[in-house]
């Protein structure tokens, strides 16, 4: 293009603190220099993975509905959890149980939800967090909206919106980040790039070399991180959240990770990807490296690992029992929450439902 001058310049930084072997790649920012938190985060990753494995098994044995595993993505979810404060609000997709558990959502709640029971969205410990959101990307305008509410009220809080690599193709995603940029909202967007949207690899979604650069179109700060590096997640999201809370605007973070599992229990990933690819990805998974990091610092041992796993397994077993013995909701429950009060015209429909309850 002759006669051209440059009117705008952008770059996308990348952050990794802990490499795949558990070695620090440089000095640790103070935000992540907290051994107590390392342990808590690592423990939560283990707990999450054990739960995840159990949930898949429950589905396989007909005791749970379709379930979307999070195997291999625990660092993103737990790191986000640790980076947030209770007053922040999380807008998840459907895979981020590590974040939910960190914030106090119970194991039973998650089982209930995927077990086909609306009561699984109760979240007594984090009452403003949104439940799972199935229509892809539709949670992002909510995240922006909550961020707007915080800004309008002058509250030092941030909204955290999750989105998948596939989700970045939906218009709602762009509308939300563009708005957050335009208004300088306290929104942290975490793009979980696990390389696939069901069977579609990222290259089907976009020609972009990074998903982080989507933030450039929203006029916002953006960066890419190693999403299997718990410390990088903790630092990048922590910094972004702090900026957001103090009024310095939104950030978009692309977290590179890999979905080691099938998309959901209904999916068969071997139809569309090679075993070698998965093997290679497994070598970069997030838990081993964090365990090494802790062990090298004498903060964790095989014995501790075994004890913690046993503790988690017992907790999970108890939650599963609780879940399995939770009676279904009464048929009335279909009508109880459609409106604040049942409209007259729904009364006779409720009568009909009651009359046929259990009689199909």
């Amino acid at each position: 293009m002759k006669g051209g001058t440059i009117v705008a310049d952008f770059s996308v930084p990348y952050l990794q603190l802990l490499d795949a072997d558990g070695r620090l790649t440089g000095p640790l920012p103070s935000l992540a220099d907290n051994p107590q938190e390392w342990l808590a985060m690592y423990r939560m990753m283990v707990r999450t993975r054990l739960f995840d494995t159990k949930a898949v098994n429950l589905q396989r044995t007909g005791k749970l509905g379709t379930y979307p595993p999070c195997l291999g993505q625990e660092a993103v979810h737990v790191g986000v959890g640790a980076a947030l404060l209770p007053q922040d609000v999380v807008f998840p997709v459907y895979r981020e149980i590590g974040t939910k558990f960190w914030r106090g959502v119970t194991l039973r709640d998650v089982l209930l939800y995927w077990g086909g029971d609306e009561r699984g969205t109760h979240y007594v410990n984090t009452p403003q967090d949104f439940p799972f959101c199935v229509p892809i990307a539709s949670q992002m305008p909510h995240a922006a909206g909550a961020a707007l509410a915080f800004k309008l009220r002058g509250e030092a809080r941030c909204a955290l919106g999750y989105i998948g690599d596939g989700g970045t193709s939906q218009g709602a995603f762009y509308e939300a980040i563009n708005f957050a940029g335009a208004r300088g909202l306290p929104l942290v967007t975490v793009v979980v790039n696990n390389q696939y949207a069901i069977s579609a690899p990222v290259r089907v979604q976009t020609a972009c070399e990074t998903l982080a650069q989507k933030g450039i179109a929203a006029g916002m700060r953006c960066l890419q991180i190693d999403g299997n590096d718990l410390l990088a997640v903790r630092v990048a999201v922590g910094e972004a959240a702090e900026r957001a809370r103090r009024g310095d605007g939104p950030t978009l973070i692309e977290a590179l990770t890999y979905r080691l599992s099938d998309h959901t229990t209904s999916d068969d990933a071997s139809r569309y990807r090679d075993a070698e690819e998965v093997t290679a990805a497994r070598a970069r998974e997030p838990m081993v490296r964090m365990r090494r990091f802790l062990e090298e610092r004498k903060l964790w041992s095989d014995a501790q690992e075994a004890a913690w796993r046993a503790e988690c397994s017992a907790e999970i077993e108890a939650a599963v029992q609780e879940y399995l013995t939770t009676p279904r909701q009464p048929v009335d429950s279909m009508f109880d929450h459609v409106y604040a009060e049942l409209p007259r015209s729904l009364e006779w429909q409720r009568e009909e439902a009651r009359r046929f309850s259990g009689r199909r």
């Binding site: 439940p131 229509p135 305008p141 922006a144 909206g145 929450h337 459609v338 409106y339």
Partner: protein, 326 residues
């Protein structure tokens, strides 16, 4: 008490509530400095500031989605969709979240908000600016769908909508925005949002309509009165949930029913009313229920608009047919 138009009434109701409910905010395209393309929010930003009355980017899905979260956060969003024909990009948020959030979370997170939108044709507007798409909303349980037909009802029902614990879709007939002026008391009194309004008492035929069609229905009723046919004219007003008690009472009294609406006929709200009435009052019906509706075609560009929109002639004809039938 001043004589005001419907659009002024809508403006007043918003001003009243902005004044009295510190959580209320107004958002949408051009609602700020410009005061809305129909001036329904004129002066509100000036009076209440850009923190409470503000323009959004041009994205209806965003407006709806942001409103969901504002409501969940305890604010009371009253958002404008510039024309009902542009509701489509917002439908995912409306159907998947507004209508469902309460149910999904068993009441933990609710979504009390208002989406205001100009509705219907008759003002020679460009393509997509004259749509009557209430069915798309009424088919989604969890929403309340309202359509006022006078300045007074617009004022009171809008206040009722803003104060409702449910998400309310508020359809404003463009043709009535400035058609007639009426004395409206600006006293902050809400009207019920689950009721029909009787516009005229009659024993011969029940005549149901909403929005701009109520004006045609009333004209038809006046014309028919001269032939000594007395119509019981009801403004349905609350299109979801519908006040079937009042409708059935009237039909039981008259034995005849004509429904007039601008929307496409197939699966219009008229179909629901006709089906429900025929289900609950078949033996009271002395003639088939007749629907006078927009045709199952695309609303034409404006040169043929009046051929498309149901008018007095078609309503009168349907009423007469109903009397001949039975």
């Amino acid at each position: 008490m001043a004589q005001i138009s419907m659009v002024e009434a809508i403006n007043l109701a918003q001003a009243w509530e902005l004044q009295n409910d510190p959580d209320m905010v107004v958002l949408g395209e051009d609602v700020g400095v410009n005061g809305g393309v129909f001036r329904a929010t004129s002066g509100l930003q000036q009076r209440f500031g850009a923190q409470r009355v503000f323009d959004t980017p041009l994205a209806e899905g965003l407006i709806a989605g942001v409103s969901v979260a504002l409501a969940a956060q305890g604010l009371k969003p009253v958002a404008e969709i510039q024309f009902m024909g542009f509701i489509y990009p917002a439908l995912d948020q409306i159907a998947s979240h507004m209508a469902r959030l309460r149910n999904r979370t068993r009441g933990r997170i609710t979504c009390p908000l208002v989406l205001r939108m100009p509705h219907g044709g008759g003002i020679h507007a460009p393509e997509h600016h004259s749509e009557s798409l209430e069915t798309l909303l009424c088919h989604h349980p969890g929403l309340r769908v309202l359509c006022p037909s006078s300045p007074q009802r617009a004022y009171g029902m809008l206040l009722g909508a803003i104060r409702s614990p449910d998400p309310v879709m508020f359809l404003e007939p463009v043709r009535l925005y400035r058609l007639a002026r009426q004395e409206v008391q600006d006293d902050g009194q809400a009207l019920p949002i689950d009721r029909c309004f009787r516009l005229r008492n009659g024993d011969d035929v029940t005549l149901l309509s909403w929005g701009a069609m109520t004006v045609e229905a009333m004209k038809a009723a006046e014309r028919l009165a001269k032939e000594n046919i007395q119509c019981d004219v009801l403004d349905v007003a609350s299109l979801a949930p519908i006040d079937f008690d009042s409708i059935l009472d009237s039909v039981v009294k008259t034995g005849r029913l004509v429904i007039a609406h601008e929307a496409v006929r197939t699966c219009g709200v008229g179909a629901e009313i006709a089906a429900t009435v025929a289900e609950h009052a078949l033996y009271d019906l002395r003639a088939p229920v007749r629907r006078v509706t927009g045709y199952d075609t695309i609303m034409p560009l404006y040169r043929l608009e009046n051929e498309y929109l149901p008018g007095v002639e078609r309503i009168v004809d349907a009423v007469r047919a109903t009397l001949v039938d039975g």
